[in-house]
């Protein structure tokens, strides 16, 4: 399908440089993990890719062409972190999912597409009329994925889509991400601060620290032989890897 390429990207908010001359490639049909602490610039990269952040310099290319940020055709789609603010509470989930479908598509076809997408994310087309308030966080995140897919994207940017969820629900969303990638051949930029999660979904990983990418490579390799101190910190911080029970 398509390759997303950040070339020498710099984004500034006032005096702070959120992203500092970063280059990163999400190859066709692969999931690339982007890890780093909050404030390290991960979300800014994501938002820049969909035109929600002010790019100071550098380019974001889709198959060699600048990513279109105007008009109705948006081949890069984003899924957001907070499942409680990412769906309009006044719209049924079917309406939300239908929103990115091109407007010239006829009504019956739209409805069929919404049903197909809701089935695809295992919500079930029967629930198209449900309100977000009737859904759990995990279900909302899957609806948000369906909405992103409705735009028929070549690339999906997933920004911390499981970190607001209970761990018991996180698994359903991660399974879905892997499934969609395999079935649809999507390219995905998967952002997280949890290395165990990234390890599970991403074939490649880039580590971000203070606006720069400090290390990148195949996930297995980076995790086995981390070269940067910050990567080692992240590895040590995976929940469940340390024991601090005081001797009693």
């Amino acid at each position: 399908m398509s390759e997303l390429r950040f070339e020498d990207l710099t984004v500034r908010y006032g005096a702070t440089t959120a992203v500092d001359d970063v280059s990163l490639v999400v190859p066709t049909g692969r999931i690339v993990g982007l890890v780093g602490e909050s404030g390290s610039g991960k979300s800014t990269m994501a938002r820049a890719a969909v035109g929600l952040a002010p790019v100071e310099s550098g380019r974001i290319l889709l198959d060699g062409e600048p990513v279109p940020l105007r008009g109705h055709r948006r081949p890069v789609q984003m899924v957001f972190q907070d499942p409680f603010s990412s769906l309009d509470p006044r719209m049924s989930i079917g309406e939300s999912v239908a929103e990115p479908i091109p407007r010239d598509v006829r009504r019956a076809a739209r409805r069929a597409e919404v049903a197909r997408l809701l089935d695809l994310v295992h919500i079930g087309s029967a629930r198209a009329d449900a309100r977000p308030s009737e859904m759990s966080g995990g279900q909302r995140q899957r609806v948000a994925l369906a909405r992103a897919l409705a735009a028929q994207p070549a690339v999906v940017v997933a920004d911390e889509i499981t970190s607001a969820l209970d761990v018991s629900i996180q698994g359903t969303v991660l399974n879905l991400v892997r499934e969609l990638q395999a079935e649809l051949g999507l390219s995905i930029l998967f952002i997280s601060h949890n290395l165990a999660v990234v390890r599970y979904v991403a074939s490649d990983v880039a580590v971000m620290h203070r606006g720069r990418i400090v290390e990148q490579g195949p996930t297995a390799q980076v995790l086995a032989t981390p070269s940067h101190d910050y990567t080692r910190d992240l590895l040590a911080a995976v929940p469940g890897t340390t024991r601090r029970r005081s001797p009693r």
Partner: protein
């Protein structure tokens, strides 16, 4: 079910006495506005030359005016014009305010700023002054007054709309629409306006009351309605000139203005209040008392007395229940929880959201809000019975000996006060230190929770701290005294993994140094397993397993415990298989099934499970509530179901 929840919330406004009274008044006035001119125009016009400027009598209840016309009838008939004028003015204010308020969203950045600045300037002028100014500009008369009051009200609506729009626009669903290629105008119509409509209508109702009063004011000054037309203000104006002859001539229209204005105003306020309350319809129901306690059929043998004597026990909880009023009677969200925490012990509580973890903690720390009904057979902290009525001495004891740390430290601090001052206040309040000593202690404690440059940081405001630092400051506040127990509810959930580690390290260190007991609540079993000695697993308001943390990863006996552990990806999760997930949804506390609450999601469930509720039975390894505790679960059964997962 379009809009049902919000409609239910509106209706709940009608359950307050004020809501009912003002609603009835407002409706009466609206009905009068329609029917009064039809019924009584002639009576109001009738000139009674024998009774000019007469006082109250059986014929004319409030007397007559200078042409001998009946004041009561004239006041009734004037309802329509008064209401019409007030509503038109409100309409103008809302429409102009709406246009100005959304303009910054539609215009480019620079033009938008200009509009915002103008609105801010206009808001700064007193409304009445603006109204007078416009009244003079537009000329004397009803139309001029409508325009004047409408335009004078517009800036505050514009400001309101602007704030609300800015709030909605910053939400992710608007960003999502934008990245989906939806245009600005369409976003406004589809997403923004529907989400600001409700508060806008409520505020317009409040505004209508104000407009009514303003009108009366203008007419009274002679700037509004001109004879022969008359509204309440005009009647008031005429009445006042005859005040000493017939006070009723001024009093009756004055009263009409006052009552109507207030009823609109207060009706709007009571809706606003009802709508602002998060829980639908239930929040305003009166505090419900829980039905008499059932006998404690869930206390297993090991729950009778805390293990290892009682001297050592910091916290002793037996058969704790918490209930909230619901649509159909009280809803039990904590259903009989029994546990003890010993000196220096770290106990974890895990479970999915809604399983009652937080409420258990809140009940222990006496922080359940007023609607919640807390009940227990025993609730003792440091030997003190917390079930007896609250006293100042006990609050002080809790304040010094028990520390709470919440998930979101931003909401636990007062954003307008410096961190140091907020910490110091604890010691001045509870430990009787003077200002200087308390501040020194605050700086010392900020250092103890490893905040760099504590002296400088103490002078900063909460928003100047990062999330992790705020959380550490919160813990610092907890150890201003020398607590025996720290209760931390999801203290790291909002934090990054690296920061999470620092906070967990800190909690572990404090515990080690001062032998402080810790209750750590989390939805993540791995977090709890890292820090705690013992773990309580909660499901549907009950403890379903109580086990040593060391057993958590491999030796959990309850199927739910095992499912929670399996659901978390670790650094050696198999990459070629789907992650295990827990099928189905957590139990709705308002609708707990008979038998084992976990049965619908349990791979081991049998007929017995669906009928008989398993008791929490204790043995040397801990406690577990399951008919099939410890029976092996096939890996296939730790479900990876694809459809209808939560």
């Amino acid at each position: 079910m379009t809009g049902t929840p919000s409609r239910r919330r509106h209706l709940s406004a009608l359950r307050t006495p004020l809501g009912v009274v003002t609603a009835l008044l407002a409706i009466t006035v609206l009905v009068l506005a329609v029917v009064a001119p039809i019924l009584w125009t002639d009576s109001a016009k009738a000139v009674d030359t024998d009774d000019i400027l007469a006082g109250p009598s059986a014929e004319h209840w409030a007397g007559t005016d200078n042409l001998g016309r009946d004041i009561v009838f004239r006041t009734l008939v004037a309802t329509r014009l008064s209401i019409e004028l007030a509503l038109s003015a409100t309409l103008i204010a809302v429409v102009v305010g709406l246009v100005l308020g959304v303009a910054p969203q539609l215009l480019g950045r620079r033009a938008g700023r200009l509009v915002t600045a103008s609105i801010n300037i206009a808001v700064a002028f007193p409304g009445l002054l603006l109204a007078l100014f416009f009244a003079v500009v537009f000329g004397i008369g009803a139309t001029g007054a409508v325009l004047a009051i409408g335009l004078a009200g517009a800036p505050s609506f514009a400001r309101l709309v602007q704030t609300m729009v800015a709030g909605v626009v910053s939400l992710d669903y608007v960003a999502a629409a934008r990245t989906a290629g939806v245009g600005r105008f369409r976003i406004l119509v589809r997403h923004v306006l529907p989400n600001v409509a409700e508060p806008l209508v409520v505020n317009a109702t409040i505004g209508a009351g104000g407009a009514l009063l303003a009108f009366a004011g203008l007419s009274f000054l002679g700037l509004g309605v001109q004879a022969p037309a008359y509204d309440w203000g005009r009647l008031l104006f005429d009445g006042v000139s005859a005040l000493y002859v017939n006070p009723g001539a001024a009093l009756v229209p004055g009263l009409a203005v006052l009552v109507t204005g207030l009823s609109f105003n207060l009706f709007g306020e009571s809706i606003a209040k009802a709508v602002g309350v998060p829980t639908q319809g239930t929040a305003l129901a009166p505090r419900t008392v829980v039905a008499p306690r059932r006998s404690t059929d869930h206390a297993g043998p090991a729950t009778e007395a805390p293990v290892g004597g009682t001297d050592d026990v910091v916290l002793d909880v037996r058969d704790l229940e918490v209930a909230f009023p619901g649509a159909d009677g009280p809803v039990q969200v904590v259903r009989g929880v029994t546990f003890a925490v010993r000196r220096g012990e770290a106990v974890g509580i895990v479970g999915e959201s809604g399983s009652g973890k937080s409420l258990t903690a809140l009940a222990v720390s006496q922080l359940v809000d007023d609607l919640g009904q807390v009940d227990a057979e025993r609730l003792r902290f440091l030997g003190e019975d917390l079930l007896t009525s609250d006293t100042a001495a006990r609050r002080k004891m809790l304040g010094t000996s028990m520390a709470m740390v919440f998930q979101d430290p931003m909401t636990s601090f007062n954003p307008t006060r410096r961190i140091g001052g907020q910490l110091a206040e604890v010691s001045r309040h509870h430990h009787g230190l003077d200002r200087k000593q308390a501040m020194a202690r605050a700086v010392d404690r900020l250092g103890a929770v490893r905040i760099p440059a504590p002296e400088r940081r103490a002078r900063q405001y909460p928003h100047e701290f990062s999330g992790g630092m705020r959380q550490r400051a919160m813990i610092g506040m907890g150890i201003m005294g020398s607590p025996s127990l720290i209760i931390a509810d999801e203290p790291t959930t909002a934090l990054d993994v690296t920061v999470q580690q620092q906070v967990l390290d800190l909690l572990a260190a404090i515990r080690r140094e001062d032998d402080v007991a810790l209750v750590l609540i989390s939805h993540d079993v791995t977090v709890v397993g890292e820090v705690c000695d013992r773990v309580l697993v909660m499901y549907a308001g009950r403890i379903v397993e109580d086990l040593p943390a060391a057993d958590l990863a491999t030796a959990g006996r309850h199927p739910y415990t095992q499912a929670l552990v399996a659901a978390v990806p670790s650094m050696d999760t198999a990459l070629d298989e789907p992650l295990a997930v827990i099928p189905g949804r957590p139990v709705d506390p308002a609708d707990v099934p008979p038998g084992c609450a976990y049965a619908a999601r349990c791979p081991l469930a049998t007929e017995r499970c669906r009928v008989e509720d398993p008791p929490l039975a204790g043995d040397e390894r801990g406690r577990v509530a399951c008919w099939h505790a410890g029976e092996p679960i096939e890996p296939m059964q730790l479900s990876t179901t694809r459809t209808d997962v939560p």
